[in-house]
Symmetry: C2
């Protein structure tokens, strides 16, 4: 048995879980008139109501005790201090520094001057593009920006661009190219004019196959000869200035990234440049400030009043003590349609591990499957299973009180569904085949602003951090992407060779040869 | 114990599963040089390679025996015969009839004449709009079509429209409005011209709250006064002609839908009209023909050579004997980005049930969580968990051999990743922390045409049908959507009232009042 599963707190939770077998959430409400007050938290304009969960005060105490026993307090300090908590890669983890401004030392050097200098460069560039003083080809005003990047260089920025569209007046239209799918690239480019479009190439190493393959297609489309200086037409965000220059990016159009920012946290860095071009630098900084507000809450709040800690331990409760394998993310807002995909990346890439920081194989489950879609659309799709299926699926419902439009009736209908579903999942209607007793969190945001979006995203970042601390795994590496990457490079020449492939297992060989025969009809 | 879990086939599989505990897939390949040949199937231009699964010949025999023991043969006949297999709603289930043309009787009446008449009307309308002879307001050529519908009236058509975009030359641009989110409606309408745009309102009952709320916004934007005859500007697909007429839809612009087509199967019916407007009626009929080809295969192939049966029993194997809670759908093609969402609806709405057709509560798991995203994007996101997480996630990899673009190098890179990932998930690299032995199906399609898309979608429809037959549940109802709908209608007046709400549980009351206080900043 591992340190975790034989810990006092874990064993206490196991026992407590057995006592919970017959507990109905509706009884918990009946016996505690203050349950909403006691099981909800507010930070600035974000409300978390976690009262519709299979927990009582004792559960929360035991869960918080587990977090404490696992050293969460010290771990939070190490995070904010810039300690090298990404142990496998021997790196500090400082996405919080990107939104703070307080000096942080890594290897003895304060990172903050470079962070601030980069923000200033981002501001100058975004302002120049937006006011037209920095033109594209032949000095023409830039109307469209294409971001070429994949993974963290795509999902976070694309989510923020979509979510904050109401703030984009006067900004460039921002488009995202990620997958190495030339048809998708063509569809994105088709309506654009290369004379008024610029591209940002985002790759930490500047060697990401998908990104460089697509970047070359875009460079050709922009009319920049390979190796020529692209002027304002190409921008890079990378740690590899040399390769960016060889690609044709002017030196002063290269923005840095640092090894202490993981891909899935990179929207807060210069990788967020497309966001800034869309909504302006003032709004981008408000996004940072929102995240900073959640950072401060996470650093300072007692665990039982900490929103990220509460979300995290509830996840551990269902994952490790109820056997729930997945967690649904359900934003009732189309502008947050990418939130499930962003959190899926954040969470599953951080938590999809089975070896602890100490190199031991776990004897408990770690990361859950994170999935979801917007409500009410999802109500007409997979909610059937949430209500009447055989599986426990804890779900986060997320909505906004004040919309950006002036059609209150539409919004009231949307929110009536939001409230109705969490009530229905809890209450059920056993006589009609709805067992109920299905747990949900409700997160209400006053209005979807850069500030509140920043809070929301940082909330989930810290939730993941807390869970990883409890499970004893490193939240910040992703060794699982390497094996497939290596194999793909080995297979590619076989796909482009004239002869049939033969050196793989029978399945892979069979598939490759089917492809080679059928790639021309 | 239920009939299922005490059946001979089930108990044999349980025993067989224990023998499988230490089996490595790589050993299965080592001992059977013909494994690819023995564990793959081809139907027309679709290849299914299921050799990278934790199965041997005996497993497949036992699984097929289970399907047989559960009466699959008779059930397939009942499906194609038009028997009322949707027992809870006392309805026949005839999406297959929509793509066949052979007479089928329901309550003694052949449904085929009406099916054919509807196809002819769809053709006349789609042709007229596409060639300009049927104009919009003031007879102007219609350039854009807005489809207003949710659930099955949205996902299937939207998927087909996106997947078949290469066939859309000369067609109307098609846009989808589904969620009751007025900001999303405004974003869709903003770039369009009401003089050259028409809207299709899709709702079987013509009372779906989301659809009617949005349809009113669109009608206003089109400049059609409430109740006035909208001419060509509004089209309806509904079983409720009276309500459509009251809404302003001219009688000959109302297309029918039938109670023997469930929402999640409706893209094959007149609900597919937006598809036909985009790609033309000839291509829409090729989509139907592709599905018909899979229907014929499903009806006629022996179970062990039936692609839907094989996919289905593999799902049962992992779900019920390995405890897998979810199934990933991974199309390596951006034009199939909506496929995971469509299959999620199809599968989870059909299988998310815990009561059998005979009214018994199951003692085994039914529907899995269906989720996924496109590769290679997903490789930079959740693949970390697939490779190194603690959970077994069987995954379907789907790719196309011949792309619609002329950039073979991009496509070879994409496919090299496809092949590499299934190999890496199987082989692993235990010394480097990759356990391997993780099962995948590979589905390769020669080219993504209307015909092959039809085959692919019908494949999964029948897969779900087989699983439901094994589990003994009704695939075709969705009682789980009703409770929340009813509650939402009850809550709506409280949201629009001036006073605070108070008649709910403390959580729902607290949330509603937070919303009411915060809906204006």
């Amino acid at each position: 048995m591992s340190t975790l599963t034989q810990s006092r707190a874990w064993l206490a939770l196991k026992l407590h879980r057995e006592q919970f077998a017959a507990t109905r959430m509706t009884d918990l409400f009946a016996t505690d008139p203050q349950r909403f007050k006691n099981f909800s938290l507010r930070v600035h304009d974000v409300l978390l109501d976690y009262s519709k969960n299979l927990v009582n005060a004792e559960t929360m105490q035991l869960l918080v005790a587990l977090a404490r026993e696992r050293g969460l307090g010290a771990e939070i300090q190490r995070l904010f201090n810039g300690d090298k908590i990404n142990v496998s890669e021997d790196r500090a983890v400082l996405h919080t520094a990107l939104r703070d401004g307080v000096p942080v030392r890594v290897d003895g050097n304060d990172v903050m001057p470079e962070v601030k200098a980069t923000l200033a460069r981002m501001r100058a560039f975004a302002d120049g593009v937006r006011d037209g003083s920095l033109g594209g080809r032949g000095g023409r005003k830039i109307t469209d920006v294409i971001n070429v990047g994949i993974g963290g260089s795509h999902l976070g920025p694309a989510l923020a661009t979509a979510a904050l569209a109401p703030y984009a007046a006067g900004g460039s239209r921002v488009h995202y190219i990620s997958n190495v799918d030339a048809a998708a690239v063509q569809r994105t480019l088709a309506p654009l004019d290369p004379a008024t479009t610029i591209a940002i190439v985002e790759s930490k190493t500047f060697t990401t196959t998908e990104t460089l393959t697509n970047a070359k297609l875009v460079r050709d489309w922009l009319g920049v000869p390979a190796g020529a200086d692209a002027g304002n037409q190409l921008v890079a965000v990378t740690a590899n200035t040399r390769l960016a220059a060889e690609f044709g990016v002017t030196t002063d159009r290269v923005f840095p990234c640092w090894d202490w920012v993981g891909g899935r946290y990179s929207l807060w860095s210069a990788m967020g440049l497309p966001i800034a071009l869309g909504i302006g630098m003032d709004n981008f900084e408000k996004l940072l400030h929102g995240a900073r507000e959640m950072d401060a809450h996470f650093r300072d709040a007692p665990f039982d009043r900490s929103m990220p800690v509460v979300l995290a331990v509830l996840g551990v409760w269902y994952n490790n003590f109820f056997g729930a394998a997945s967690q649904a993310i359900l934003p009732y807002d189309e502008s947050l349609a990418l939130l499930p995909a962003h959190l899926q990346q954040l969470d599953m890439e951080s938590s999809g591990k089975q070896v602890t920081r100490d190199g031991e194989t776990v004897d408990y489950d770690t990361g859950m499957i994170i999935w979801g879609a917007t409500g009410t659309n999802a109500q007409h799709s997979f909610f059937q299973l949430l209500h009447q299926g055989t599986r426990l699926v804890p779900a986060d419902f997320i909505a906004v009180c004040e919309p950006h439009h002036a059609m209150p009736h539409s919004h009231a209908i949307l929110l009536s569904n939001f409230f109705a579903q969490t009530a229905a999942l809890m209450n059920g209607a056993p006589a009609d085949g709805f067992p109920g007793n299905r747990p949900t969190n409700s997160i209400l945001v006053q209005k979807l602003t850069p500030h509140s979006l920043g809070m929301l995203l940082a909330l989930y970042e810290h939730k993941v951090f807390v869970q990883n601390t409890i499970w004893g795994i490193n939240a910040f590496d992703q060794p699982g992407v390497e094996l497939g990457k290596r194999l793909a490079s080995g297979i590619l020449p076989d796909l482009e060779a004239a002869t049939a492939a033969g050196r793989y297992d029978a399945s892979t060989t069979g598939l490759i040869n089917f492809y080679k025969i059928n790639r021309h009809s």
